[in-house]
Point group: C2
Chain length 475, copies 2
């Protein structure tokens, strides 16, 4: 067995067993481990560093828009959940409940937050008094819990980390506008930070958030053609404002209900980027969130001057703001190559005595798996430029796949064959019965409705289509 | 009533009713609000921004030491808690318990983490195999829950935010060394970031962490002379390693138990800085963590050029990395002065038509409540230098108070009178009975043991003293 195959053989084949490939990759690269309670995960340093990078980039975007961070309690009185009828119906089946605390039974059971519309609605009801208090726009980074039957690390776990933004506006127009603006922010983030193309649009009634007037989603196509919901924004109308008494005195002296909206992305984004960019060798991490952007592997590292040259190059690159690791462990270069490839580091630099003598370095690009030589004297600019090319290539490749695998369908059987390898774009009459039938027939759901509506007939009943919908099988 | 008194009158007198002063200040400056469940708090944007600044500064220190962040599950199987006998005894009475989830009763109740030694011990038991895996040093930023009877925002709430670091070493010496090194890190942080003097030292057996071999604490003297425990580090010996099977194969081929340690600081630090630096007018925030470091108040802001000059100055200061707010609201300058003083902003800049004409600005220092004029052309350097002086002054003032209010005591009655206004330094024989008697007689506890032991006799029984102890009433 060739050296290069030792690592690859640890990972299931990406084409024939994608689910096992995913499990192998997330465990073997030490992104994550299973927690002791069924359905929970431990996010290990290599995975958590990706989350920290996502947080930093996302948080900066929120702050630039004037959104402020806050922190609301984990435990929500059960009675809050029931104040919004659809909300409790949607979330009650999957909440975890604290019934005892401090050695005694609680008078009222407390729900571990599955999302915080209710408790934040309660506080907003207390804080908002005048039109001067609006808009009120807060976000929190926290853990939430939804008891799920089938779980997979990052994709669906009983506890996960996320951000949830919650805003109140004086008018419905402003709240709706913000709902769309946050969707665009998520889309821009997915494209530029995760190098991940997405489809965005409004969700159907069946797929919307429990209690929302309208939900918008961001969907990404994974390696196997299935869809992963990667972020949602919700326009609540006055549903939660009325349930929690979020009222303000307007300029005209009248007492009015506010309009609320919310939005969230979670550690699921880590699953999304793994299944978008990964390949047969393992992870392929987008440079903006990769914990290590450049790994330097010394060649013949015991030879005089090699380690020093590697360290000096590392320092030069770090000074430009890059995250650089020098692997000076005792393992062989081949072993190191394989390990860092599996871990998805965007660029690997090889530097040995001959390179130093010639004033060059060899760079291996994880995305294309191609090597090239750079001048050592121009390393900073050349490496920065290469990382930019990696981002472009990752995006272009995923975008091409998505484009090629979105097919139109006019019949259920066309739809079925379409969702076996990707997304289907089809007309829909707007009836729940047809949506349910698509699910039953093809195990596919309406991911989002396309802004452009040009499919004339419902893929299911053949009647006039009200919407053009992207259908897919989804995680 | 003078304008200046309108705000002050909203806050209870700091000298005669410190507890009410604290409550008034934290609520009225919108640092925090009460949550709907008794004993919980909502951290509002002005308070959360302080926490973000604390996190950023602390996290950078951890990373510089090579500690990595991770995330472990919130819910801990009840059976884990009982694996370390002292640990369960200490924490069982105050845990919150999830008994139902996903619509069904759980087979085993799950504890909402009060601290994570047990679940992290379990994972370390799984991860650690060889001496090559050591030391293993992880930290997590998360929420924890301890059901408390008497609660106060930031000081003691059922849920709070913190960081908890957990490390495994091959030897006890290394683990003990790290326990002391983290204590020194906390002390340096308190001094330079919170401008807060502290006493550090080992805790008595009675006061140590449940399950630790030794606990070290950092104690700060509050405005009223009481002590606030502001950070702790724990050396666990092999207690948790044995309970959770954290074993490694050593270089000699033998299977050995590791030695663990942990350390934590929490949102309590926000309470500590409020009660250390606050004065009759409200908050006095240390510049390194103040959400707003400089507030610019335009004078005669409707006059041509005033707002523009304020904005231009604001931009110049922001470029140096400062957090600057321009208050261009419709309120009067006097109203603004009062509000920002209550909110504890370190420097207030006043800029009006005459100042602009003369090329000067007026700066009000929140710590000394003194004004001075600076040259507009030298604003960047002058403001930076002033902020440095504020830090020095805050530290010096608190340090002087602490020094003056630590008194020696040779008898219980001397101790009693000492702890009524500050800390007492006294000899202690080492017997639990004497420690208990001090508590009963003077409502004071042993905060930490002084490294310097020079008090010859026990303050309680008069026998030979084994330790010199700082006694105080504590939050």
């Amino acid at each position: 067995m060739a050296k290069n195959d030792q690592f690859v053989s640890q990972i299931a084949d990406i084409e024939t067993d994608f689910p096992q490939w995913y499990t192998d990759v997330v465990l073997k690269t030490k992104l994550v481990d299973y927690g002791p309670v069924k359905g929970t995960m431990v996010i290990r340093p290599y995975g958590y560093a990706i989350w920290e990078n996502i947080q930093r980039e996302m948080d900066a975007r929120f702050k630039a828009r004037g959104v402020e961070n806050a922190y609301f309690p984990l435990l929500i009185p059960m009675s809050f959940m029931t104040k919004e009828a659809e909300h409790v119906e949607g979330f009650a089946p999957e909440v975890a409940v604290v019934t005892h605390a401090g050695g005694a039974k609680l008078e009222e059971p407390l729900v571990v937050r599955p999302t915080s519309e209710t408790i934040i609605g309660h506080m907003y009801g207390k804080w908002v008094e005048s039109w001067r208090d609006l808009p009120l726009r807060l976000n929190q980074w926290c853990n939430v819990m939804r008891w799920e039957k089938t779980t997979r690390p990052f994709l669906r776990t009983s506890e996960f980390l996320w951000q949830e933004g919650h805003s109140v506006y004086a008018s419905g127009e402003e709240a709706e506008e913000e709902t769309l603006a946050m969707l665009r922010l998520y889309e821009e983030f997915a494209k530029t930070v995760l190098c991940m193309p997405v489809l965005t649009g409004r969700k159907t009634e069946k797929e919307k958030f429990a209690g929302a007037a309208a939900t918008y989603g961001m969907e990404a196509m994974m390696h196997d053609g299935k869809s992963l919901q990667s972020g949602t924004t919700h326009y609540m109308g006055q549903n939660f404002a009325k349930a929690f008494g979020v009222q303000y005195t307007d300029k005209d002296g009248e007492l009015k209900y506010g309009y609320t909206m919310s939005y969230g992305v979670s550690t699921r984004l880590i699953g999304a980027l793994i299944m978008t960019h990964g390949d047969a060798r393992g992870l392929v991490l987008p440079p903006p969130v990769a914990p290590v952007q450049v790994v330097i592997v010394p060649i013949a590292q015991k030879k005089e001057g090699v380690l020093e040259a590697c360290k000096s190059l590392g320092e030069r690159l770090r000074k430009t703001g890059l995250r650089v690791t020098i692997d000076d462990s005792d393992n062989s270069p081949g072993w190191k190559f394989n390990e860092w490839e599996m871990k998805g580091v965007p660029l690997r630099v090889e530097l040995g005595p001959r390179d130093i003598e010639n004033g060059v370095l060899t760079v291996f690009r994880r995305d294309t798996c191609e090597k090239q030589e750079l001048l050592l004297s121009e390393a900073e600019n050349a490496v920065a430029s290469l990382l930019g090319s990696v981002c472009k290539e990752l995006y272009a490749r995923a975008e091409k796949r998505m484009r090629e695998r979105i097919v139109p369908a006019n019949t259920l059987s066309e739809l079925l064959s379409g969702v076996e390898g990707g997304f289907v774009r089809a007309g829909w009459c707007g009836e729940r019965a047809c949506e349910d039938k698509v699910k039953e027939f093809a195990q596919a759901t309406a991911r989002v409705m396309d802004e452009t509506h040009d499919m004339p007939f419902c893929v299911c009943c053949g009647k006039k289509a009200k919407h053009t919908v992207f259908f897919a099988r989804a995680y």
